[in-house]
Amino acid sequence: MIAAAIHSGIQVTSGAERVPPGLARNVMTISGRELRDAVRARWFVLYTLAFAGLGLAISLVSATATGGSGLASFGRTTAGMINLVLLVVPLMALTAGAGAIASDRERGMLQYLLAQPVSRLEVLLGKYLGLAGALLSCICLGLGACAGVLAWKGMGTDPAAVLWLAGLSFGLALAMLSCGVLISTLAGRASVAVGTAVFAWLTLVFVSDLGLMAGAMALRMRIEQLFALSVMNPLQVFKMWSLHAADASLDVLGPAGLYATEEYGKWLHALFAGCLLAWIVVPLAAAAVTLSRRSPI
């Protein structure tokens, strides 16, 4: 009788075997759930509040500092925003990504999920997209609030520059999310994954730049070497690209920036896009391979 009740809840297509949903549908299902979970999570709320709050502070300070002169091309606002994005977005994306797989594995959820008619790639992509949606929402809310304040204060900030900043921040977030997810698939435990993600953040934000600075000065590095090395860092790529978008040149970055503009010219966008794309695709692909090879338990 109980069985009958259970059966009646579902329309059973008897006889013909049902075909499992395709990749796209499963990815959508999983990403929807992941997104829902993410935006309810404490980390999302805290990061969003921190990002928007700091951004608003920067906007207000810079609006006061220019004395409402209404002049603004490239100034403290954009620089401050870039700085803020460089600090907050990678940390958020890396830790979000790091939590994605490892904690599920630790709590046995991954095993349960994979016992359903889904593939590992679907689970990975679904989680990635869901988290990406949450990050997009966080970035848009934060930068949108800042742009609102700037508009209200009558600052002449270029709307196109704001849009570029938002788009590139999202690009950076995707790259960092890929790295976080890779860390997550490699790490044995969730705590290890998050720790590694924070370490990766420190490395990308501070250690690599400071090391490169020291190295460049100590080894008397040539400008093209310096530029080539700095393009390896997705954070630098984000920074240079947003500057380029706001200013149409990189000469604000001194000789190295000038070199980049002269050497690559119109191809600079392609170069940056390529680097960022590589940082998005390669770690994600590596994560997919790792996940398919590793046992989910």
């Binding site: 009788m1 109980i2 069985a3 009740a5 259970i6 059966h7 009646s8 809840g9 579902i10 329309q11 059973v12 075997e17 049902r18 075909v19 499992p20 949903p21 549908r25 499963n26 299902t29 999983i30 759930r33 829902r36 979970d37 309810r40 709590r107 046995g108 959820m109 095993q111 349960y112 999920l113 994979l114 016992a115 359903q116 008619p117 889904v118 593939s119 090879r293 046992s295 989910p296 338990i297």
Partner: protein, 298 residues
């Protein structure tokens, strides 16, 4: 329906599953029986395609290695303990898995009603008791009425009452041509659900028996687990020893081995001595020392 051909799973140098061959036909119901570490759970994970292995497993003709999605489409799976996103509501969980199985939005009342979870739609998973979680897991497994049901020690984390309820729920499902493969360490489950029993020892499939053969083979080795208040335990030990039995203490009471035909003997002894018994449980004893299995973790 499920064909397991020469499956071996190595962990490092050891083998968790060693060259197992097993065929489970349509409508068959096979219990996997064995000690901790005998390879029951590992074999189930292999069937679900969760881990890689040597050999070949097909479910409904689909190789679980290369066509895992198709194979799992035929399977409803209930784990030992449902662990899923705690913040998710019961209804959300059902809808989520229903989508993954390619079904439309299910009729929640019927799905949840069937496992006695009506009225709990809006609860979050973390608010459910262990028994309710297992019933939710069963409801999810039964979405789409899959022809194969795979259960991995589904009652291990339930109390006696929950266990009984759950087993009767499963007994209701086992007919109607459904294929079942389940791991268990409880004789009563095996007796009421299985048509055949596959006995695993150290990863090897030792034999496949009928439940009847299985029960009689097991007869000599039954252990009764008696839950006795702490104050009365020493006295119980003394009384049982005096009655010619060999008791050992454990956390909440006493374990005592008895002949399958004389399972009531310890109760009689204790009742005569006026020692209170709160609860009891029948456990199996293998050939290698004590086996107590209130919670057996794979």
């Amino acid at each position: 329906m499920i064909s397991i051909e020469h499956v071996t799973k190595r962990f490092g140098r050891g083998r968790a599953v060693s060259d197992v061959c097993l065929d489970v036909g349509t409508g068959d119901s096979v219990a996997l029986w064995g000690l901790n570490g005998a390879g029951k759970t590992t074999l189930i994970r292999c069937v679900l395609g969760l881990i890689s292995f040597e050999g070949r497993i097909c479910v409904g003709g689909h190789d679980v290695g290369s066509r895992g999605k198709r194979a799992r489409m035929l399977i409803g799976y209930v784990p030992q303990e449902l662990s899923f996103y705690d913040e998710l509501r019961v209804s959300e969980a059902v809808v989520f898995f229903s989508k993954l199985k390619g079904l439309g939005v299910p009729a929640l009342d019927a799905v949840l009603g069937g496992v006695g979870l009506s009225g709990h739609e809006a609860k979050r998973i973390r608010e459910l008791s262990g028994g309710m979680k297992q019933r939710l897991a069963l409801a999810i497994a039964m979405l789409g009425d899959p022809p194969v049901l795979i259960l991995d020690e589904v009652t291990a984390s339930l109390d006696a009452c929950g266990r009984e309820e759950f087993v009767s729920l499963l007994a209701g499902l086992s007919g109607s041509g459904r294929t079942m493969l389940f791991a268990s360490h409880r004789v009563e489950e095996v007796a009421s659900l299985a048509k055949r029993v596959a006995v695993l020892e150290k990863g090897k499939l030792e034999r496949v028996q009928s439940p009847f053969e299985f029960a009689s083979a097991l007869g000599a080795g039954t252990v009764v687990h008696l839950v006795i208040p702490a104050a009365a335990r020493e006295r119980a030990m003394a009384e049982l020893r005096a009655g010619g039995l060999v008791p050992t203490l454990n956390g909440v009471g006493v374990l005592v081995g008895v002949d399958a035909a004389r399972k009531a003997a310890p109760f009689r002894l204790l009742a005569e001595a006026g020692v209170p018994v709160d609860d009891f449980e029948l456990l199996r004893e293998g050939g290698h020392g004590t086996a107590h299995g209130r919670k057996e973790h794979a």
